[in-house]
Amino acid sequence: MTSYRLPAELDPARPAADSPLTIRVDGEPVTGAAGQTIAGVLLGAGRRQWRTTADGAPRGVFCGIGVCFDCLVEVNGLRDVRACLRRAQDGDVVARQGGSEATA
């Protein structure tokens, strides 16, 4: 695994206990903690790519602050959601996108 989330017991910020959540990503369950973004949940689970470009290349997070639009995913049927900004909710259904044509 490459990217990961620091386990709460090792976290020097001493956060309150995690409130776990599970999202489904292309049908597979992925667990994270309440308060994480969808990108954070995916990266925390070692997943680094979740979009395919028009040329077929994999993409994931790049700018991390909502500027580059590389991390777009479909969330609960709605396309073009920036995974780095959207907080994950337990039960969210996330699907890979093959491009971005729905926004103006």
């Binding site: 308060g35 680094r48 500027v67 639009f69 709605l78 780095c84 900004l85």
Partner: protein, 475 residues
């Protein structure tokens, strides 16, 4: 009572909102994020509070004090998750069109604001120069690594290379270390000579900015403790891997940032965090008509007033000066926007602090400013526009075919800069590659993409906003 709207809740916006409230204004503070603090004080969300949140932050107590005052002040309304998506100029003022709700959500509620005074504190984002392989997953901006570490305690990789230019690389490396990652090296493009000219000249001026110097010294201690090599005059010139980054090539640079042949070495890494400085988020300032300096920052006077009456600007919009400058500028801007006296004692202190902190911006540019030789690490198949996957070779081909060096024209033919990010990632790069000095690249009438359904709802629900042009002016 003056009605002041502040856009952006980072250090500059928080300081502006407080100063405006103290000066007697009715204040509305808008930020697209769901918490206060901006990128500088990005932190764990309210539903996951931490006892020692401050370990990843500087001046955490300052942030706590500002946000406590603002949330308790009867004349201040804090509106998080508020995305300003356009700004219209009215006779004698401006109108902000805002969507409230989840980022990129459907059915967000619409609000408009027509303030007596507007303070823009929209900040900056990192700028990353393209290099072969930078589109691979595992390569991200230094800001992304920082946001994920500070906001979620997520490390973008286990063996991480940090590269680019500027003092920001140091806190990013420190954050990665604190999330347990191994930082293989920090590669700073500026060579020792430039760094010395920027940072060691007129050292007496640095005395007034001791806070900033102490902050940087703390990061350096972190690197030393973890035996992380910091190498000036070097750059990541390529990333390699099958589907994600597995290694990078590091090379020495000459004083113009051109890679020196024969100095390349391959470094194994599963992530590379690369940023070459910051670029201001200018959309609202440009939509308001604010004059820009040739350096592409918003021009402000001593009271942080822009060229447009009723519009002030503070923080990274006016120059990359760091949080000290942003806090001081925000305090001056907020006071002035509220109609307060910037000659009063408290405001005078803020003005002096601002003037000291501003020196930092000049030093950063002298030490870490992008050198023109970086194009030496591009190859014809290097992706320049990440959205449209336009390569350097294609841009050159279009220039040859059309004979045009005008960014707008090259964009329309090559499609570089026409994707969803609206050239935020590649616009400056294209201008530099083409040698085009015209500023059109920062003009974006839609600050963010807006769903067509939201626009339709706005037209039927709210009589006030003028019909936006959904396609936008994509030049």
């Amino acid at each position: 009572m003056r009605n002041v709207v502040v856009v952006g809740a980072g250090p500059a916006g928080l300081a502006a909102a407080r100063a405006a409230a103290v000066a007697g204004a009715q204040v509305t503070l808008l930020d697209a994020a769901d918490g206060l603090g901006g990128q500088y004080w990005r932190h764990l969300p309210a539903d996951r509070p931490a006892a020692r949140e401050g370990v990843l932050h500087h001046r955490w107590a300052t942030f706590g004090g500002l946000s406590d005052v603002l949330r308790a002040h009867p004349a201040v309304t804090v509106l998080p998750s508020a995305q300003v998506w356009s700004l219209e100029r009215l006779d004698g003022g401006v109108r902000l069109n805002v969507l409230l709700g989840e980022p990129d959500g459907a059915g967000r509620s619409a609000r408009t604001f027509e303030p007596d005074a507007l303070v823009l504190a929209t900040g900056a984002h990192d700028r990353t120069l393209p290099f072969p392989g930078w589109q691979l997953p595992g390569v991200c901006s230094a800001g992304a690594a920082q946001a994920l570490a500070k906001g979620e305690w997520v490390a973008v990789g286990r063996r991480v290379v940090v590269a680019g230019a500027g003092p920001f690389l140091l806190p990013v490396a420190a954050s990665l270390l604190r999330t347990g990652a191994t930082v293989v090296g920090v590669h700073e493009a500026g060579r020792v000579g430039a760094l010395a000219r920027g940072w060691l000249s007129r050292p007496w001026e640095l005395a007034g900015a001791a806070g900033k110097a102490g902050e940087l010294a703390g990061y350096v201690r972190d690197l030393v403790r973890h035996s992380v090599p910091w190498r000036p005059g070097e750059a990541v010139v390529a990333a390699h891997g099958d589907g994600q980054v597995e290694a990078v090539t590091v090379a020495r640079l000459d004083e113009r940032w051109a890679p020196v042949a024969g100095t390349e070495r391959v470094v194994e890494a599963d992530a590379a965090c690369v940023s070459h400085g910051f670029t201001p988020r200018l959309e609202l300032a440009i939509a308001a008509g604010c004059a820009l300096a040739p350096s592409r920052f918003v021009v402000v006077d001593d009271s942080q007033a822009t060229s447009v009456p009723g519009v002030w600007a503070a923080g990274e919009l006016t120059g990359i000066g760091g949080a000290d400058a942003a806090l001081a500028e925000g305090a001056v801007a907020g006071t002035a926007a509220a109609g307060g006296d910037t000659g009063a004692a408290a405001a005078r202190r803020a003005v002096r602090a601002r003037d000291r902190a501003r020196g930092f911006a000049a030093r950063i540019e002298a030490a870490h400013g992008v050198g023109g030789g970086w194009t030496g690490w591009l190859r014809d198949d290097t992706v320049v526009c990440r959205c449209e996957e336009t390569t350097y070779g294609r841009v050159r081909e279009v220039v040859e075919l059309t004979g045009s060096h005008e960014t707008r024209s090259v964009k329309l033919t090559s499609r570089a800069g026409l994707g969803p990010c609206q050239a935020r990632m590649c616009g400056r790069t294209l201008q530099e590659l083409l040698g085009d000095p015209t500023p059109s690249v920062d003009r974006r009438p839609l600050v963010v993409p807006v769903r067509l359904g939201d626009l339709a709802a706005l037209r039927s629900a709210a009589p006030t906003p003028a019909a936006p042009r959904p396609g936008g002016d994509r030049t």
